[in-house]
């Protein structure tokens, strides 16, 4: 890895194109279990995407007029964005509250967030009947300013720009461009503040989309507080993702993480588990309150009711208790298990609102086709590939070159 830093250091004056081309070459072993699983899925997914744009949505996907939002939106967009929430929570903690302890994981979290938005919001294009219309709210062909989607579209766009600016010093360090690095570092704070505002608005805005489908969503999941629920749950969803992703990075990229940061890792995970426990505690009561407000006691003893109880008790209350206990006992393994359960819970919640509880009473239920599943997985795997590519080349997990530290 030091070799790579050397390249970046010496880049002044050298041809940047030569450097870029050399960086494009793959590194490391090809036949890893992850590659063996992901490569065929990505290739198959690409083929299916070609079919989808060539022959139309109906060839690949099971969505109908009645259920227009399938797996790509429900899983990739709605769920993926919730998990990207770690970026705004952590930037708030580090840059606004000045909790320096978490500084070592900020870059990887922002990168993860940025890629999540780029890919999962990108997956939106797949699902649009007329994908070229996606630019309309931006270029003003038809703004559609009265639609929540207008807000979501602009927020996604602006937030991606903000995250790119937050991440850009890392790219500058990689390329060895010192002047640009200085300017971009100076913009970080503004981007962070802008990004946090946008994030909070569109996490809830994503929930607000479902306010339009009052009649279609199962009453146990539909309520007028969906935006609030989405916002609050995005906090612990994002942080659980950070814990989960961090424990994988620890193993896969262990040679890039400095000794100091390795030692700090457990303290960070523990700190995050405390925040998760706190927010989930509040979230559980919010859900309880909303449930009572909705007065749907009678629905609890139905199939959907049991499913609802499983989500609330098994994947909100239980991991919350687990976070709580493991924080107090300093049990890192248990914190990771709790993070995993929380993530399952958030996936359940988002899918319940957007797919499972959506037109639950329809005669013919929407079930995603195998092709939709493959494409959904292909999107995630591609994101992980890019993520890995960036981490192996840019100073995301490893320390910045010494010239860059002086700028801070």
């Amino acid at each position: 890895m030091s070799n790579n830093q050397q390249i970046a250091l010496d880049n002044d004056g050298n041809s940047i194109w030569k450097f870029l081309v050399s960086e494009m070459k793959p590194r490391g072993k090809w036949f890893t279990p992850f590659n063996i699983i992901s490569v065929p899925i990505i290739l198959l997914g690409l083929a299916l995407i070609v079919i989808r744009f060539w022959k139309g949505l109906g060839e690949v996907s099971n969505v109908t007029q009645e259920v227009p939002w399938g797996l790509w939106k429900g899983f990739n967009v709605v769920t993926g964005v919730a998990f990207a929430g770690g970026a705004y929570v952590l930037t708030f903690m580090v840059y606004i509250l000045n909790m320096r302890k978490y500084h070592s994981i900020i870059r990887v979290t922002v990168l993860n967030g940025f890629l999540a938005y780029a890919f999962y919001a990108g997956a939106l294009v797949l699902d649009l009947g007329r994908p070229w219309h996606i630019f309309n709210p931006i270029i003003g062909n038809s703004f559609g300013a009265s639609s929540v989607l207008f807000l979501v579209a602009w927020h996604f766009l602006l937030y991606m720009v903000a995250q790119l600016i937050e991440f850009s010093p890392t790219i500058a360090e990689w390329l060895g461009v010192r002047r640009a690095h200085k300017i971009l570092s100076g913009m970080t704070m503004a981007a962070v503040i802008f990004g946090i505002t946008l994030s909070m608005l569109h996490q809830s805005g994503l929930g607000a989309l479902f306010l339009m489908a009052r009649e279609k969503i199962h009453p146990l999941w539909y309520n007028e507080f969906i935006p609030v629920m989405f916002l609050v749950s995005s906090i612990f969803a994002g942080l659980s993702m950070v814990i989960f992703e961090g424990s994988i990075s620890d193993r896969v990229f262990f040679d890039q993480i400095s000794e100091k940061n390795k030692k700090a890792q457990n303290g960070i995970i523990r700190g995050l588990s405390k925040i998760c426990a706190g927010t989930m505690f509040a979230y559980f009561f919010l859900q309880l309150l909303v449930f009572i407000h909705g007065q749907h006691w009678d629905l609890l003893n139905t199939g959907m009711g049991h499913w609802f109880l499983l989500e609330m008790l098994g994947f909100v209350l239980f991991p919350m208790i687990l976070f709580f206990i493991s924080y107090r006992n300093n049990n890192i393994t248990m914190i990771k298990i709790a993070a995993l359960l929380t993530m399952i819970g958030v996936i359940m919640n988002r899918l319940n609102v957007s797919i499972i509880g959506f037109r639950w009473d329809a005669a013919v239920r929407y079930v995603p086709s195998w092709m939709e599943v493959v494409v959904a997985l292909a999107v995630i795997f591609t994101q992980i590939w890019i993520f890995r590519w960036v981490i192996n080349r840019m100073p995301v997990l490893r320390d910045s070159p010494s010239w860059a530290i002086e700028h801070e």
Binding site: K274, A277, G278, F281, A282, F285, L288, L289, I292, H293, Q295, F324, Y327, R328, N329, N330
Partner: protein
């Protein structure tokens, strides 16, 4: 649920209010218990902590007087005075009895302050002459600050010295101070061994007989007589 009517409480949002109240009531123990562990942990660390020269903080730019006070001249010409890390490690958490007010004059060797731990007192004498300019109110409110940051937020008085150059000559400075602190720690170990024999028929629980490490805050568990001896041995300026 026939026969039991909760429809009224629903209509008045009673149950929702009850849920909110329950939440707020539960939030307090939730938060208290969640944060409790850190405190326990620090207690364990303290209990396990051994006192050795390597953990002592000795900033090199301060003057250390023989009676375990330090002095530091600020740009304004006022000197800050406080207690050194070794003394605070030996005693543990203490309270201050401030007997001087801003405006009082003090001579070297006058009573500067008394520190108190559950009625056991230690008298500290001033290493410097001058006029009291300010006292640190923070240490009255949060005595813990003294042990955490003895050379920063844990200062006691600001004094305008009248005979600074002559009086700091007898103080330890820089490397000398580090060596002196280690020597004082060794002397304290010997002192404990002798003192314990005088006042307690039991063999010492505190000291490993091979002269190894002693516990942090070792004086806090010991009787008043040993505090008197400690004061005479270590806090006397004229020895």
């Amino acid at each position: 649920m026939d026969g039991f009517s909760y429809s009224d409480i629903f209509a008045t949002k009673g149950i929702e209010y009850l849920i909110i109240i329950t939440f707020l009531v539960l939030l307090i123990p939730f938060w208290v218990v969640l944060n409790k562990q850190v405190e326990i942990k620090s207690k364990i660390q303290k209990a396990l902590g051994f006192l050795s020269a390597s953990i002592l903080k000795i900033p090199q730019g301060l003057y250390y007087s023989k009676n375990h006070t330090w002095m530091y001249m600020e740009k304004t010409g006022n000197a800050r005075i406080g207690l050194d890390d070794l003394l605070l490690h030996i005693t543990g958490e203490v309270k201050f009895i401030v007997n001087k007010k801003p405006g009082d004059t003090i001579n070297k060797g006058d009573l500067l302050t008394e520190i108190d731990q559950n009625g056991k007192l230690l008298r500290l004498y001033s290493p410097v002459s001058g006029k009291i300019m300010d006292t640190n109110n923070m240490i009255q409110k949060t005595p813990g600050i003294l042990n955490e940051d003895p050379y920063g937020k844990g200062w006691i008085y600001k004094i305008k010295p009248s005979n600074w150059i002559a009086e700091v000559k007898s103080c330890y400075f820089a490397e000398e101070a580090t060596n002196w602190s280690s020597a004082e720690l060794e002397r304290f170990k010997d002192f404990l061994a002798i003192s314990m024999k005088n006042y307690s028929p039991e063999p010492s629980m505190l000291i490993l007989q091979d002269g190894g490490e002693i516990c942090d805050h070792s004086l806090s568990a010991l009787p008043n007589e040993i505090w008197r001896d400690f004061e005479a041995e270590f806090l006397n300026l004229n020895r």
